[in-house]
């Protein structure tokens, strides 16, 4: 359980995090979503006691992080900056952390095994690839077998295999009742990973909602359905409160429903579906639209200058 209440962080005149409040519940993956510069990392650093809030507070397991007695057994964190000394071996990095909690050095070997790094245990951190470094970070987060996990942009720069690994790991941890908070600037990644979304831009909260609700509210999808009986299909859809329009002889443009819903309606009415296509703006576009007016750094659309 993570609770953020009226959290604010100012650097001089610049407000990085602005009166942010949200709660992260156990048993699911919560995506912390926002464009670059939205204040995600700053918020996570305050949650983890690394940065002091200007006002407001953040608690983990009911207390501020700095008050946790054996923090690594309660909270595991993966920071975007790596956080391991390049001159130390992967195993020694974990041994330092184990020693700080009186955990046996064998625990380091266990988590290295768990993240698939046992073979690189004696390699120095500077020699690890990006993907291996990320795995080492995850190993450090899992070292104390914590109930809360905070991961800052864990899939950034990873290859598809690494992305899938992180995704499955987060799902598995949430399924075991852990609290998982993961930040990302990629909506599509969160749509397949997270159950719940906290969306921020310019340090402000834009949405705190389930992924399903977010998708329903913000995706603007039209389903093109080619069916054997277009008029009968229109009636059937209207009875269910779904609007549609004729495109041509056999095609209906259906809005406000997913392809799956349309298919099910057709099945229930014994209408043969000849083709189904979803078109319109993607979730990523919906997310960008939502954050555009708040986004601090807009991507230049003028090409290369």
């Amino acid at each position: 359980m993570i609770e953020v209440r009226n959290l604010t962080k100012r650097y001089g005149a610049k407000t990085a995090v602005d009166d942010l409040s949200f709660t992260v519940a156990p048993g699911k993956v919560t995506g912390f979503l926002g464009p670059n510069g939205a204040g995600k990392s700053t918020t996570l650093r305050m949650v983890l006691g690394l940065d002091e809030p200007t006002s407001g507070r953040a608690t983990v397991c009911g207390v501020p992080y700095r008050d946790l007695a054996r923090p690594l057994t309660r909270v595991g964190a993966l920071l975007d900056t790596g956080g391991a000394h390049p001159g130390r071996t992967a195993r020694d990095h974990l041994r330092v952390l184990a020693a700080s909690h009186g955990l046996p050095a064998g625990r380091a070997d266990e988590v290295l095994e768990q993240v698939g790094l046992a073979g690189a245990a004696r390699q120095r951190v500077r020699g690890l690839s990006l993907g291996m470094g990320r795995r080492l970070g995850v190993a450090a987060a899992l070292l104390g077998d914590p109930e809360v996990l905070v991961l800052d942009e864990p899939v950034n720069g990873l290859d598809p295999e690494g992305v899938r690994w992180i995704r499955e790991l987060m799902r598995a941890l949430a399924a075991r009742g852990r609290t998982v908070l993961v930040s990302s600037h990629l909506m599509n990644e969160m749509a397949v990973t997270a159950d719940h979304l906290v969306v921020v831009a310019r340090g402000r909260l834009l949405a705190d909602t389930s992924v399903d609700a977010f998708v329903a509210a913000h995706s603007d999808v039209t389903v093109l359905a080619r069916v054997s009986d277009p008029e009968g299909m229109r009636r059937a859809l209207r009875e269910r409160g779904i609007e549609s329009a004729r495109r041509d002889d056999a095609t209906l443009a259906v809005s406000g429903a997913s392809a799956e819903q349309v298919g099910r309606v057709a099945g229930a009415e014994n209408i043969t579906v000849l083709g189904l296509t979803e078109s319109g703006s993607s979730l990523e576009e919906a997310f960008m639209r939502l954050t555009r007016e708040h986004a601090e750094y807009r991507a230049s659309t003028g090409g290369i200058r």
């Binding site: 006691g49 002091e52 130390r88 990095h93 330092v96 952390l97 700080s100």
Partner: protein
């Protein structure tokens, strides 16, 4: 606190550079002792006011620089690599983290100083034979003082390093101070009086067996260094607790 110190111990012993520092320090102390012990001519040894204690401890300031660099890097290496964040996630009580690090590394500096200063002193005394310092309590006091001087200088530098957070900045501030500035200032009239109270100059009083000239005796000098150290360590604590990382 026990676990925080244990973590610092693992940190110190799992990097290459501290091990190199240990080796260089011990090698340097013994090598310089051999030079001073064998190459000091009869003229030096029989000169009026010859100070066998001072000769036996003359390698101490140079050797201390090696351990000072080790202490500075133990602090700034964490900031440079970003591992400070991981360290503070593990030990979020900032003061505890800081005292564990400064305490353990300074203590390691002190232990190494025993291993370096004592043999170096004995080698020099053996080398100069009949001119050697008397086996008296005062002599032992100076050797002990040399060990304390080294450990205090390491702690002082770690405090400054924590305040500056940069190895380059700390080294470019402290090395000229320790190597030259203090010596130069000490020789300028008027300013020289004040320069006696600089941390390394005051602390180095204990390295001399000669009668103290001026205000500071060996132990008051060491006391002045201890005050500087307390100030620097206190400032470092403030920076560690108050600043974001």
């Amino acid at each position: 606190m026990k676990h925080a110190v244990a973590a610092e111990w693992v940190k110190l012993t799992t990097l290459r550079s501290p091990k190199w520092s240990f080796a260089v320090y011990l090698g340097l102390m013994v090598a310089l002792a051999c030079v001073y012990g064998t190459l000091s001519g009869e003229k030096t040894l029989t000169a009026p006011g010859f100070d066998p204690v001072g000769l036996g401890l003359s390698a101490v300031p140079l050797g201390a620089i090696v351990l000072v660099v080790m202490g500075i890097l133990a602090v700034t290496g964490e900031y440079a690599s970003g591992s400070i964040r991981t360290s503070l996630l593990a030990v979020p009580d900032r003061a505890r983290f800081y005292y564990a690090k400064v305490g353990l590394v300074s203590l390691a500096g002190g232990v190494l100083a025993v291993a370096g200063v004592v043999p170096a002193f004995l080698i020099v005394q053996y080398g100069i034979g009949e001119h050697a310092a008397p086996a008296a309590a005062a002599t032992v006091g100076h050797v002990l003082g040399a060990v304390l001087y080294t450990a205090l200088l390491v702690a002082f530098s770690m405090g400054v390093a924590t305040l500056l957070r940069s190895g380059a900045a700390t080294l470019s501030l402290l090395l000229p101070l320790f190597f030259m500035l203090s010596t130069i200032l000490s020789n300028v009239p008027v300013v020289g009086e004040a320069a006696r109270f600089l941390p390394d100059v005051a602390g180095a009083r204990v390295l001399s067996g000669a009668e103290p000239e001026g205000a500071l005796g060996p132990w008051t000098g060491l006391g002045v260094l201890a005050l500087w150290t307390a100030g620097a360590v206190g400032a470092g604590r403030w920076a560690t607790v108050r600043r974001d990382v």
